[in-house]
Amino acid sequence: MVSLAPEGVTIANESGSSNVSTPTTSNTSSPAVSHANTGSDNSSPNPSGRREVFVSGGQKIEYKYIQAKTSDGAAFIIKQEVKIESNNVITVEHMPGEVLEEDDPESEFYVPKDIQITRSSKYKNIFGKPINQNLFYTNLRVTNNAMATRSLSANPDFFAVPWEGVAGRVGVFSTKVQYICR
């Protein structure tokens, strides 16, 4: 969306900036911009006359879209901020399903949006690597008994697992000593 000053509308193009606004008529209050369709016509695809209300942090900001024309007759839309003073009631106006104007690549004011080429993922460039086999504790004979509700208790020095066999065996191993069970 092109934001333009109310007076002296300046349009930038390849050849540089050229002032296209010349006050031709005398009955308009702002000479370069002629307001049109300021009513709330929500059904038209043209967003002129549309109002948007943003509520952020208890602050209410309202924008109004105004259709304007340059002296050449090219129509464009002005997004205008509406000042709201001491309005205690915060309401959000829900607009009916209205499609904002389509991007027209032929338009003079066409600005291409950011096209995301790369896929963004927070797991990108993260690769798992299995730990070295000599740091494993293998062949632990952990019991299959369903009575043992806990399957591991550990601290920095030891770890304990319920061991298979009779008489309620608990295997306790030191993490400091390398242990190889055959």
Binding site: A167, G168, R169, V170, G171, V177
Partner: protein, 124 residues
Amino acid sequence: MNVPVLETGSTVIDFEFSPFDNKLLATGGESGRVRLWKIPAEGLTGLKSNVTVPDADLLNHNHKIVTVNFHPLVNHLLVSTSGDMTAKVWDLNKNADVLTLRVCKLLDSVRQVITQTNVYLGFY
């Protein structure tokens, strides 16, 4: 090759290391005994046979042990719940139970009991 392990005497149901003493392991089993074991610094791998004699035997439950939990903040308190619908708080300095709570159902975690009886535990 048989690895030397602890033999708690009956089917072990729950066991936990102390959060204060890394060598202290508490086990609870079907015999209703809560047993405390002092693990040697090098572990059990250097021993010739299984360890069968515990460091302490906490005997007052009438049913099998369900959970054994150390108090996370007090180093000499241990809470055990049992199938006799009680939760007992054990003082490990005296090796005796100092508080018995009747519970209406078996608890999954004894931390709930600990938080509810924090005021009582402050006395010990």
